[in-house]
């Protein structure tokens, strides 16, 4: 079975934010939540680098480890999803996640946050695939339709790759060989356990 991964090639990302827009639109992401974001390092300085980042769908997911109601699950494809019907909005996953992926639609006193929302790798959630209920809570389930996450599909420079980890690693390896230098599989050391 494929193990889904994201990889952002910092040598290619031009910070156009198309991935962010694509995600928001495709998944009707709640107001105030951005499942994906682009971070620019050394902004405006020679050698600046941009990276698009969302939930990395970690192997040993910290969010899942700390959730008091245990609402996370990892699909056969290695995608980390969660059940909004169980989530109590405690904020723990947000404390634990290294990539700042979990976010909340509300921000009120008495710790009222609403249900946590994060990137689903365009794989929806527990309700029936591409049902109305699934779309309303989690967004589109492109994986069930045999498609890849729209952010990666949308990337004009193909900096953002999303899909089977082996294939992505292969594409990236070829790029690295062509342009020389060493690979920077950004975030992989943090997110994925060597298998």
């Amino acid at each position: 079975m494929a193990r889904m991964k994201f990889l952002c090639d910092a040598e290619r990302c031009i910070e156009c934010n198309a991935c962010v827009v694509a995600c928001k639109n495709e998944n009707s992401v709640p107001w105030g939540v951005n499942r994906r974001r682009v971070v620019v390092l050394d902004d405006g300085v020679p050698g600046e680098k941009s990276i698009s980042v969302a939930c990395m769908h970690c192997t040993d997911a910290p969010c899942a480890a700390v959730c008091p109601v245990d609402c996370f699950y990892t699909t056969e494809d290695g995608i980390v999803l969660h059940d909004k019907d169980l989530c109590i909005g405690c904020g723990y996953c947000f404390y634990a996640c290294p990539f700042g992926a979990p976010q909340y639609p509300q921000k009120e006193a008495f710790g009222v946050r609403g249900k946590m929302d994060k990137c689903t790798f365009c794989a929806g959630g527990p309700p029936a695939d591409n049902s109305d209920a699934e779309y309303k809570k989690y967004g589109r389930n492109r994986i069930a339709e045999g498609k890849l996450p729209l952010c990666a599909e949308f990337c004009s420079t193909k900096a953002l790759l999303g899909g089977d980890g082996d294939m992505i690693a292969d594409i990236y390896r070829k790029r690295v060989l062509k342009r020389g230098g060493r690979p920077q599989t950004w975030g992989w050391e943090t997110a994925y356990k060597a298998s």
Binding site: A10, E11, E15, N17, V20, G32, V33, N34, R36, R37, V38, V39, V40, L41, D42, P46, G47, K49, V53, P62, A65, V66, P68, V69, D70, C71, D83, D85, L86, C87, I88, G89, C90, G91, Y92, F94, Y95, A96, C97, P98, F99, G100, P102, Q103, Y104, P105, Q106, K107, A109, F110, G111, R113, G180, G181, R182, Q184, W186, G187, E189, T190
Partner: protein, 364 residues
């Protein structure tokens, strides 16, 4: 002849031209090849330079790995009360892993065992010492110990403490203990309720209660020399010697009081921090720290509360009625709080009234 000579001359001229070019190439090659190696190393250096310039790799990414942020055009509500988008511009937050390890490892493991062992210790203590009776029997004479307002504050705080303890422990241990019993949807519904209760009861009921108790009782809790004696005599529990002297509060109660003033207040402050992140620009690190402080102080508080509840109910005869009815038996007062009893007696004598009341239907 001339016809035959012409091609010959032409051939010779060609040989000369070929020779010239050979020599030229050899000379040029002899000069250029060593130069070529310079060019080659030059190109290599340029390449290395360009790699270094456009991607100062190792150090660059190491800084990111260590939590170096950047700029992000994306703003979100990921961090409550946040004004600048420091949250979205961070790539890797290392604190999360530490927080996970402290919470899931240290707190959830040792905290659980600690509470369990405290309960066992109390059980063993009860098995060995048993209920401490009123030595000279109940006199039937009562003396006022806690007035109505004190009791009201105490019980509001006590009930909210129990709600907070149960809901708090449920959020920490429920996943391991309650999900197998209640199932996922059942526990999630309960946990949602527990979280809501915890977040409302804490600031609305519990905090004012604790604050009032501190204000009401601080003057009775100033430590003095007799407290040390109280402890050296084991609070009158250990051994059958004379019961140590004590004022309105004995040494043990003072420990409980000052514990609440320090550790308890830390629990309350950290709780406020987590409950109202929108009041201050709470950072992720601040929230992580607050949650760790809250969990540790909460567990310590519950552990000491076990002792408090034990001594106030089954551990000591005649204690509980002080907090329920407000009055205690005179013999209980003489035994546990002799200094206080003397004081009550003398002040009421000065005022020309009797502090004690006869209670009918009680054994003399």
């Amino acid at each position: 002849m001339s016809k035959a000579e012409t091609p010959n001359r032409g051939r010779r001229a060609r040989y000369r031209r070929i020779m010239f070019w050979f020599i030229a190439i050899i000379v040029f090659g002899a000069m250029a090849l060593p130069m070529g190696s310079y060019v080659y190393t030059g190109i290599q250096q340029a390449q290395a330079q360009s790699v270094k310039d456009t991607n100062p790799r190792a150090n660059y990414w190491r800084a990111v790995r260590d939590g170096q942020g950047g700029y992000s055009a994306v703003t979100g509500t990921s961090m409550e009360g946040e004004v600048v988008n420091t949250e979205t511009s961070m790539l890797i937050n290392n604190g999360g892993q530490n927080w996970r390890q402290v919470r899931n490892g240290l707190i959830a493991n040792y905290g659980g065992w600690f509470l369990f062992l405290v309960l066992i210790a109390i059980l063993l203590f009860f098995a060995k010492v048993g209920r401490v009776p009123v030595e000279h029997g109940l006199s039937g004479q009562k003396v006022q110990r806690w007035n109505a307002f004190e009791r009201f504050v105490h019980w509001v705080t006590a009930i909210s403490f129990i709600i907070l303890a149960i809901s708090g422990l449920s959020l920490l241990f429920g996943r391991a203990v309650l999900i197998p019993l209640m199932g996922y949807p059942g526990f999630a519904a309960y946990a949602g309720l527990a979280k809501g209760l915890h977040n409302f009861v804490g600031p609305w009921l519990f905090t004012p209660g604790v604050a009032l108790m501190i204000i009401l009782w601080i003057r009775h809790n100033i430590p003095n020399a007799e407290d040390i004696q109280w402890f050296t005599q084991g609070g009158g529990f250990v051994g059958k010697g004379k019961h140590p002297h004590a004022g309105r509060m004995n040494g043990g109660e003072k420990i409980w009081f000052w514990f609440i003033c320090t550790v308890g207040v830390a629990a309350i402050v950290s709780g406020f921090f987590m409950d109202f992140p929108n009041w201050w620009s709470a950072s992720r690190e601040g929230m992580q720290l607050a949650s760790v402080v809250h969990a540790i102080t909460g567990i310590l508080w519950i552990a000491l509360w076990f002792g408090h509840a034990y001594l106030g109910t089954i551990g000591t005869e005649g204690s509980l009625e002080g907090m329920t009815t407000g009055r205690v038996d005179v013999n209980w007062a003489k035994q546990h709080h002799d200094r206080w009893y003397e004081e009550v007696q003398s002040t009421s004598h000065e005022q020309g009234r009797d502090a004690t009341t006869e209670v009918r239907g009680q054994p003399a």
